[in-house]
Symmetry: C2
Subunit: 347 residues, 2 copies
């Protein structure tokens, strides 16, 4: 099958640092190439993909501060996809926040089937655009996400998959001093302050890792920094993959305390792949990712988070790894997309 992926341009494919969608596109397209498909990835010019790369004419925009109007490159990319549309049996668009949603009108009306995987959170703004194109073809990344805009023409829900074998498995949390992990962007809606409070209630140290955007600096300074003592609460900054996974593997548990309905939660999957159970607020897709009582606990309050933390020793870490291998592999994700593509090309 001739498959085109339309990736974001903010990071390269694969990303040099964090980049959930870019990682997914890299891994999905690599398996599709191995499966014998002819794959073209429309992405930033510094991307390195298994199939054919169609460069957007600029490097990853995140690393190109000289670019005055990044959205221009998104539009040029979409015009390139339109121009080449007839070369593909399916065009798989990865819709992300901000300029990502422009793919929906920009790829409208092509003869070749277009499938949009919705990676972003539905908010009041983008919902207006999605509703206007409700009959286009969508894939949700969780049933939770899908339930928030059920009138969209969702062909299915396909959970993200990760390369489980790339994650180190720890049968026991390593080291003399047990700790919890919070991993993710340091922003109010991610509830870092909630994780700090839950860890304190449960009496375990918390290690926090993640990127702080300039606009979230005030939150960090007011809600996180005052708690940092290097012992009970410590901040490690943004970690590369090896350091991130060893941090996860060494932990007693990972806290997920987002206050918004996240459409997915890669950190939960990555943590469980390392054998580390998850204690999560029951928001967004959490219940689809964490097998409550088996691979971690779901909670509705800070007190319940603390109770879950105290019960973490009852979780079998091997079950966490098996859960991810069985439910969140790249193979399962790739098969899900292949089935969906077949539906489109038959119609």
């Amino acid at each position: 099958m001739r498959i085109a992926h339309v990736a974001p341009l903010w990071e390269s494919v694969p990303p040099r640092g964090y980049g959930a969608i870019e990682t997914l596109v890299a891994e999905l397209s690599a398996v599709q190439v191995l499966d014998g498909h002819d794959v073209t990835v429309f992405a930033s010019g510094d991307s390195k993909v298994a199939g054919n790369l169609h460069s957007a004419g600029a490097p990853a925009l995140h690393e190109a501060p000289g670019i005055a109007e990044p959205e221009i490159y998104r539009m040029l990319q979409l015009l390139d996809v339109r121009d080449r549309a007839d070369e593909f049996d399916v065009i798989h668009s990865h819709v992300h926040a901000n300029t990502g949603c422009l793919a929906i009108p920009a790829l409208y009306g092509l003869r070749s089937p277009v499938l949009h995987t919705v990676h972003c959170y539905f908010n009041e703004d983008n919902t207006r655009l999605f509703r206007r194109f409700a009959t286009e073809r969508y894939v949700a990344i969780s049933d939770s996400q899908r339930s928030r805009l059920p009138e969209l023409n969702f062909l299915g829900t396909i959970h993200h998959g990760i390369a489980v074998e790339a994650f180190p498995f720890a049968a026991e949390p390593v080291g003399a001093n047990p700790y919890l992990v919070f991993l993710g962007r340091i922003r109010p809606e991610k509830g870092v302050h909630i994780a700090i409070e839950a860890a304190r209630l449960a009496g375990l140290p918390l290690k926090i890792a993640g990127r702080i955007k300039h606009s979230d600096r005030t939150y960090f300074e007011h809600e996180v920094q005052p708690h940092l003592d290097g012992k009970r609460v410590s901040f490690l900054g943004e970690l590369d993959f090896p350091r991130k996974t060893s941090l996860l593997a060494g932990a007693v548990g990972t806290l997920i305390t987002s206050r918004i309905p996240e459409p997915f939660g890669l950190v939960a999957i990555e943590s469980m792949a390392c054998g580390t159970p998850v204690v999560s607020l029951r928001t967004g897709a959490a219940a689809e990712l964490v097998n409550d009582g088996v691979t971690g606990y779901l909670a509705d309050s800070i007190e319940e988070l603390a109770a879950g933390i105290r019960r973490l020793p009852m979780i079998d870490r091997a079950s966490c790894r098996q859960h991810v291998a069985a439910r969140f592999s790249i193979r399962r994700m790739t098969d899900g997309y292949e089935r969906t593509y077949r539906t489109l090309t038959r119609s």
Copy 2:
């Protein structure tokens, strides 16, 4: 004639504060209504226009910090224009920086003629998009702008017009202490530091007024603030229309020191409308706005700016006002657009 204007959404039409394009759309459409045209303005929901308003479904995005994805509203606006295109004899799109350029692909291929007035500076990014749509129909706002991308299908150059009668005329600069003015955004490319140095060389106090964006704070702190002494150099912040025009009218001259080729310069026109001559670097459209030796002076260096400042008393302030009334009135601009519209509707 049934005319549609597609305005930016960042400010309302007319703008509550500064907003060159929004002011132009408000005044152009008001005269067109008086001329008997059926005018519809696609603009932010809090706009107040002389003709019919088609709301973008959100207030001015600048004043709506709760809006997570402003570019969505731009796309929804353009989809609305597409949906209603057949209702208009001409669609007049006002292309600005950032998401404004999306109008070019988004309004491509309509049966009704589309005319794009290019309000933005051509940079490396947007040039790629303009080149791709070189055969669309454009109006330049200066010959200088047009000369930077001559392969575009420019139907003409139409300078901006202002409501000359709304500006107070001062036959002599008022007050005991003569001063110069710098008016505009406080950013490196506007050359505020150059204006400070030129005023110092010429021995006249400089009053600076304008908005400082967060991202330009460092420039202000390093290049402007150290010079502020409340006498030789003073900073007045962002001024409303009455305070801005009385500042201009009271000045000996206005300094324009932009280091980039500005496609136009409303401040030059506004200053001369008040009777206040302009001393400008010979960049961008300056030579089309300032009648060298008659309404001010053009300079190629800081020394020449200072020399121009010293010669300001030789300028007849009434000539400045007359120059603007003759060359930069809203009537002349509106007539220019009407002629261009007629060309389109005949073809």
